[in-house]
């Protein structure tokens, strides 16, 4: 995987472009977003990521990240 020179990378976060520091892991992304990991589930490039794998999952340019939670519904 090639590192971006500026050390910044654009990912797709919940359908929108989002700027991150290339090479951060999912825990760092959640911290940056101020989201508690026990209240969400995350999918990266179509694959659900187990919570214990958050520290080892590194994000790169163009990764597609989906963060979901529970809302009211019938």
């Amino acid at each position: 995987m090639q590192m971006n020179n500026s050390n910044e990378a654009k990912i797709q976060l919940n359908g929108d472009p989002y700027q991150i520091n290339s090479g951060i892991n999912l825990i760092q992304l959640l911290n940056k977003l101020k989201i508690q990991k026990n209240k969400v589930a995350i999918e990266v490039n179509g694959e659900i990521v187990e919570k214990k794998k958050y520290p080892s999952l590194i994000l790169f340019k163009d990764d597609k990240v989906e963060i979901v939670h529970f809302i009211g519904g019938g």
Binding site: D16, Y18, I35, K39, E43, F70, G73, G74
Partner: protein
């Protein structure tokens, strides 16, 4: 005597399940849920709003430690979408008891039973306990039982229509032939509809819109709670036989 309601070996005392959608705010949702006495609430899985993270969360108002969350697949029109949603829900915190609904049409929100049966089969194999929203067709509900559904949830009438039970005969047939719990889901409009569902012998009722869209949702939640209890007790008591003509209630002897 206690009247225990069991879904997948888990015991509940309330036979009313409520949805958490369409309320004015989470405070109203929480108050209505409390008034309903429900021990299970349905919830939807959606993207976190990244731009506005300070929005209140459902979990802050309804603690999943004290009330059973039943993640649903509302808005899914294919088996793949429904499976993806429920796998994400499970990852969120170990939810295995789920509500599956695979829709077939945007106007009627009628279930696509082919995709529904296919999805149930896969989810059961993956260890999910699946409560399934379905048509009121006894052949389809039998198929769902055969593939291992934990509860059969036929519609009373289309989702959010409030038209009540359109086909009592089918709901009764489904209940009589099923070994798994039968819960009437969708279309309940008012308290008497819930009572009728329970009088037909159903194990429970799932209600969202009829409570959320009432002028006073909290009071309607309480009405639904009482309606479900009334219907259940009436079913267990066994109603009188209908007659073609009158039968006087006071003795006819010793009239003055």
């Amino acid at each position: 005597m206690k009247d225990i309601f069991t879904i997948d070996k888990k015991e509940f005392s309330s036979r009313l399940i409520v949805g958490t959608g369409k309320y004015k705010n989470f405070e109203e949702t929480a108050n209505a849920v409390k008034a309903s006495g429900a021990e299970i609430v349905t919830v939807a899985v959606r993207r976190v709003n990244i731009l506005d993270k300070d929005q209140p969360l459902l979990m802050d108002y309804l603690d999943p430690k004290f009330i059973t969350y039943l993640p649903n697949t509302a808005g899914c029109y294919s088996s793949d979408d429904a499976l993806r949603t429920l796998r994400l829900a499970r990852e969120m915190g170990g939810w295995k008891l789920v509500k599956l609904e695979v829709l077939g049409d945007k106007k009627t929100l009628y279930p696509n039973m082919i995709e529904t049966i296919k999805s149930t089969e896969i989810l059961v194999k993956e260890g999910f306990k699946v409560m399934v929203y379905c048509t009121d067709d006894p052949i389809m509900t039998k198929k769902l039982e055969d593939v291992g559904a934990s509860a059969i949830m036929p519609l009373a009438s289309p989702i959010g229509s409030g038209m009540g039970i359109q086909n009592k005969t089918n709901i009764k047939l489904i209940k009589e032939q099923s070994k798994t719990p039968v819960i009437v889901d969708a279309g309940i409009g008012t308290a008497s509809d819930a009572t009728i569902a329970m009088e037909l012998g159903c194990d429970g009722v799932l209600i969202n819109t009829a409570i959320a869209e009432a002028k006073n949702p909290v009071l309607m939640a309480e009405a639904m709670k009482l309606a479900v209890i009334a219907g259940r007790n009436s079913f267990k008591a066994g109603r009188m036989k209908k007659r073609d003509f009158a039968s006087a209630s006071s003795p006819q002897k010793n009239l003055i």
